[in-house]
C-alpha cells in the first residue's frame, strides 16, 4: 500500500512538472512576450526596443532557466544597469537588493503579478477560487444525491418502465452541454418571452450574497450535464450487483426487495460511482468555465477566460497550475479511494 502510494505521488509530481512546463512554454512564446512588451512599454515601439525590454525583464534567457525561476528552483535573475541600479525578478520596486530572497517562484508562494488586474496573482486566485468553491459546493450537494438516486432506482430492476424512463433522462442529460442547457434554462425561467421570470438570468449579484433566485440557474445548468453520466455509471454498477449470487441468495431467503437493495446491494454498487464522481471534478471545471462565462459570475473559470483572452501570462499560468492540480489530485484520490473501498484489491 505504501509503495503504491509513493509511486502514484511520484508519477503525479512528474506529470505536474511536465504539464506546467508545456503551459509555460505555450504562454511564453515569442509572439506572446512581444505583446506583453508592447502593452507594458507602449504599442508603437520598434523591434529593437521590444528586444531590449525583453532583455531587461529577464524574458530573453533560455526557456529552461525561465521555467526554473518561475517554479522557484533556480535563483531569480538580477541585473545591474549602467547607472548601477540593481533590478531583478525577486526585487520589487523600492526594496533593497541586498536583503531580498534569491528564489521567488510558485514554490515560494510568489505567483507573480497580473497585468490586467494589477494585483498579486495569488490574491486574485484566492478570492476567485472561494467564489467557485461556493458554486462547486452547491453543485455537489445537488448532483451527487440526485444522480445516485436516479442510478440506483434505474438499476435495481433492469428493463422495467422506471429503468427505461430514467435511462432516457440520463442520456438526454449527457447530450445537453452547459451552453445549451444554460441557454434553454435562461429562456424558460428568466426571459420576457416565456414570462415566468422566476430566476435571474445572471449570477452577477450572487457574488455579494447567494439567493435562490440568482444561484438556482447556474447550479442547475452544471448539475443537468453532470447528472446523466454519474447516473449511468451507478446504474451499470447496480445492475451488475443485482445479478450477483449473494443477492439471489438473500432474495431466496425471503429478505424483502427493499431490504436487499438497501442493505446488500447498495454498499457494493457504490464503489464504482465513487471513482466516477471524483473523476467528474475535471469535467466540472469545464462546466464551471462555461457557466461562469454565461452567467457572468466572476469566479475561477471567468478569470481563466479573461486571463487567456487578455494575454495575462502570470495569471493564466496561475490558473493552469490550479486547474492541473485539481485534475491530478482528484485522479490520485479516486485511485486511492478505489483501492481503499475495494477489499479484493486492498488485500492483494
Amino acid at each position: 500500500m505504501l509503495k503504491f502510494l509513493v509511486r502514484r505521488v511520484a508519477t503525479m509530481i512528474f506529470t505536474a512538472l511536465c504539464v506546467t512546463f508545456v503551459v509555460f512554454y505555450l504562454t511564453n512564446l515569442p509572439p506572446n512576450l512581444e505583446k506583453v512588451a508592447k502593452s507594458e512599454a507602449g504599442s508603437r515601439i520598434s523591434d529593437e526596443e521590444v528586444a531590449s525590454w525583453l532583455e531587461k525583464n529577464g524574458h530573453a534567457q533560455p526557456l529552461l532557466k525561465r521555467y526554473g525561476e518561475w517554479l522557484g528552483v533556480m535563483p531569480g535573475w538580477t541585473r545591474t544597469d549602467d547607472a548601477g541600479t540593481v533590478t531583478g525578478r525577486c526585487i520589487r520596486k523600492g526594496e533593497d537588493p541586498a536583503t531580498t530572497r534569491t528564489y521567488c517562484g510558485i514554490l515560494q508562494g510568489d505567483w507573480g503579478q497580473s497585468t490586467v488586474f494589477k494585483s498579486d496573482v495569488s490574491k486574485i486566485l484566492a478570492t476567485r477560487l472561494s467564489l467557485t468553491g461556493i458554486l462547486m459546493f452547491w453543485v455537489m450537494v445537488t448532483m451527487v444525491p440526485l444522480s445516485l438516486l436516479i442510478g440506483v432506482l434505474a438499476g435495481m430492476r433492469e428493463g422495467s418502465k422506471l429503468d427505461r424512463s430514467l435511462s432516457t433522462f440520463s442520456i438526454a442529460s449527457t447530450a445537453t452541454p452547459e451552453y445549451v442547457s444554460g441557454v434553454i434554462l435562461i429562456v424558460v425561467f428568466a426571459s420576457k418571452l416565456v414570462g415566468l421570470q422566476w430566476f435571474k438570468g445572471t449570477a452577477n449579484s450572487a457574488m455579494d450574497g447567494i439567493t435562490f433566485e440568482n444561484f438556482a440557474l447556474p447550479v442547475a445548468t452544471i448539475v443537468l450535464y453532470g447528472t446523466g453520466y454519474i447516473a449511468r455509471m451507478t446504474r451499470a454498477s447496480m445492475t451488475e450487483v443485482m445479478t450477483a449470487q449473494y443477492i439471489r441468495t438473500a432474495r431466496l431467503k425471503g429478505v424483502s426487495f427493499a431490504n436487499v437493495v438497501m442493505k446488500h446491494a447498495l454498499r457494493n454498487a457504490l464503489i464504482a460511482p465513487f471513482t466516477v464522481i471524483m473523476l467528474q471534478f475535471p469535467w466540472l471545471l469545464n462546466g464551471v468555465v462555461i457557466v461562469e462565462t454565461l452567467f457572468n459570475y466572476k469566479g475561477f473559470g471567468w478569470t481563466l477566460v479573461s486571463a487567456a483572452g487578455n494575454n495575462d501570462i502570470q495569471l493564466l499560468l496561475g490558473c493552469s497550475v490550479v486547474a492541473v492540480l485539481v485534475v491530478l489530485v482528484t485522479q490520485l484520490i479516486s485511485d486511492i479511494g478505489y483501492v481503499f473501498l475495494n477489499p479484493r484489491i486492498r488485500i492483494s
Binding site: T11, T15, A16, C18, V19, V22, V23, L26, T27, L29, P30, P31, N32, K35, S167, T168, I171, A172, T174, A175, T176, P177, Y179, V180, V183, I184, I186, V187, A190, S191, K192, L193, G201, P282, L285, N286, V289, I290, T293, L294, L304, V305, A308, N311, L316, C319, S320, A323, V324, V326, V327, L328, Q331
Partner: protein, 395 residues
C-alpha cells in the same frame, strides 16, 4: 403579394419549415424503408432497426446528415446577408421587400436564424465525424502495439496520454487555438505528426494482410502511399505558412488555417482517450485462445493485432465511435461558444449561441435555435450508441 407581407403565426411557420425540409423527409423515408426491408442482410446496421431507441437515434442523426447534404436547397436566405430592419425580429416576420419571411426570426445583425441553423449543420457534419475518425485511427495505431507488446513503449505512450488528459480541455483550447500559437506554426506541426498515423495505419493494414503475396501487396501499398501521401502533404502544407513543402500547383486540399487548428485540437483531445480504450481492450483480448492459435501458427504481430484482435474489438469501438462524434460536436460547440478558431460570422452552432447569448432575455431565438439543433444531434448520436450497444450485446 399582400398576404406574404403578413407576419406568420406559429402554425404557418411550422408548416413552411416542414415544407422546406421536404428533400430531407424524402431521403429519410427512403433510407428507413430500404433499411427495414433488407435489415436481415445488413449485419449490425440492420439489427439497429430492431431497437426502437436505436431507430429514433438514427433518425435524428440522419435528419442532420441529410440537412447538411441538402443545405443549399433548404436555406431561404444567404447566411451572411444582413437586413437592418430585421434585427432581433420575431419568428415569422416578413422581409420588407416581400421576398419571404424570417421563419425563426432575425439575429442581432439582422440575419436569418433559420438559414444559419441549416448552414451550421454543414460545418458540424463535415468536421465532427472526420475528426473522430482521425482520432480513432491515431488511437488504434498507437493503442494496439501498446497493449500487445506492453513494456517501455506502453509505459511511455500511456504517460503521454495521461499528460494530455491532465490538461483541462478548455485550457488546452485556449492555449492551442490563439493567433499567437498559429503564428508559430505549432498546430501545423501537431498536424504533421497526427495525420501521418492514419497513413501508417493503412499501410500496416495492407502489408499485414497481403504479406504472403508480395507482388500484389507492393502494388497496393504503392498506390496507397502515392494517393495517401499526396493527400497528407496537401493537407499539412499551406502556402505562406511555416510548412509549405508542396508546390502550389500540386496543393489541392486547401483547409483554411483556422479550420485546420480546430480540427487538430479536437483530434488531439480525443485521441488519448481512444488510445486508452483500445489498449484496455487489447490487454483483455490478447489472452484469448484464438490469439494464441494465431501465434502458434506463426502469424506476425501486426497481422494478429489488425486482423485478429481489432475485428473482435469492433463492438465497443463502434459504440464509442458514435458517442465520441457526439462529444466532438459538443467540443466544437465549446470552441464556438468561446469564439475560438472559427470566424465570428461563421454560422456554426457554437458561434451562433455565443453571438446570441448577450440578448438572451430579450431576443432568445438566435441562441435557442442552434442550441436545440446541437442538442438534438448529440441526443441522436447517444441514442444510436445505446441502441447499437444493446443490439451488439444480444449475440
Amino acid at each position: 403579394m399582400e398576404s406574404a407581407m403578413e407576419p406568420l403565426a406559429w402554425g404557418a411557420i411550422l408548416a413552411s419549415v416542414l415544407r422546406l425540409f421536404l428533400p430531407v423527409w424524402i431521403a429519410l423515408v427512403a433510407t428507413f424503408a430500404l433499411s427495414i426491408v433488407f435489415k436481415r442482410r445488413l449485419g449490425l446496421y440492420g439489427k439497429l432497426f430492431d431497437s426502437t431507441v436505436g431507430m429514433i437515434g438514427f433518425g435524428f442523426v440522419m435528419f442532420w446528415v441529410f440537412t447538411a447534404l441538402f443545405a443549399p436547397l433548404i436555406e431561404t436566405r444567404d447566411v451572411l446577408s444582413q437586413i437592418s430592419q430585421m434585427k432581433n425580429v420575431l419568428p415569422g416576420t416578413p422581409i420588407p421587400d416581400g421576398s419571404g419571411h424570417y421563419l425563426f426570426g432575425g439575429d442581432n445583425l439582422g440575419r436569418d436564424v433559420f438559414s444559419r441553423m441549416v448552414a451550421g449543420s454543414r460545418i458540424v457534419i463535415q468536421i465532427a465525424p472526420l475528426a473522430t475518425m482521425f482520432a480513432f485511427m491515431v488511437g488504434v495505431t498507437l493503442g494496439l502495439p501498446a497493449g500487445y507488446y506492453g513494456g517501455v513503449f506502453d509505459t511511455g505512450l500511456s504517460f503521454l496520454a495521461n499528460l494530455v488528459l491532465a490538461f483541462p480541455v478548455i485550457l488546452l483550447f485556449y492555449l492551442l487555438v490563439t493567433p499567437e500559437i498559429v503564428e508559430t506554426g505549432l498546430p501545423q506541426y501537431i498536424a504533421v505528426v497526427l495525420f501521418i498515423l492514419p497513413l501508417l495505419f493503412l499501410v500496416l493494414l495492407i502489408n499485414s494482410r497481403y504479406y504472403v503475396t508480395p507482388g500484389f501487396r507492393n502494388i497496393v501499398i504503392a498506390v496507397v502511399l502515392v494517393i495517401g501521401g499526396w493527400a497528407y502533404l496537401s493537407l499539412v502544407s499551406e502556402a505562406g505558412t511555416k510548412i509549405a513543402v508542396l508546390p502550389q500547383a500540386l496543393d489541392i486540399i486547401h483547409v483554411p488555417a483556422n479550420i485546420l487548428i480546430v480540427f487538430v485540437s479536437v483530434v488531439f483531445v480525443n485521441a488519448p482517450t481512444v488510445f486508452r480504450i483500445v489498449r484496455g481492450i487489447v490487454l483483455d483480448i490478447k489472452t484469448r485462445d484464438y490469439v494464441s492459435a494465431a501465434q502458434t501458427r506463426g502469424e506476425r504481430p501486426w497481422y494478429i493485432m489488425l486482423w485478429e484482435i481489432l475485428p473482435n474489438a469492433r463492438g465497443p469501438l463502434i459504440v464509442d465511435f458514435c458517442l465520441r462524434i457526439g462529444y466532438t460536436t459538443i467540443l466544437l460547440g465549446t470552441l464556438g461558444f468561446f469564439g475560438l478558431g472559427l470566424s465570428p460570422e461563421s454560422p456554426d452552432w457554437g458561434s451562433t449561441i455565443n453571438a446570441g447569448r448577450k440578448l438572451l432575455t430579450i431576443a432568445p431565438w438566435p441562441a435557442l435555435v442552434p442550441a436545440i439543433a446541437l442538442m438534438s444531434l448529440v441526443l441522436g448520436l447517444n441514442l444510436l450508441a445505446d441502441g447499437l450497444r444493446e443490439e451488439s450485446l444480444k449475440d
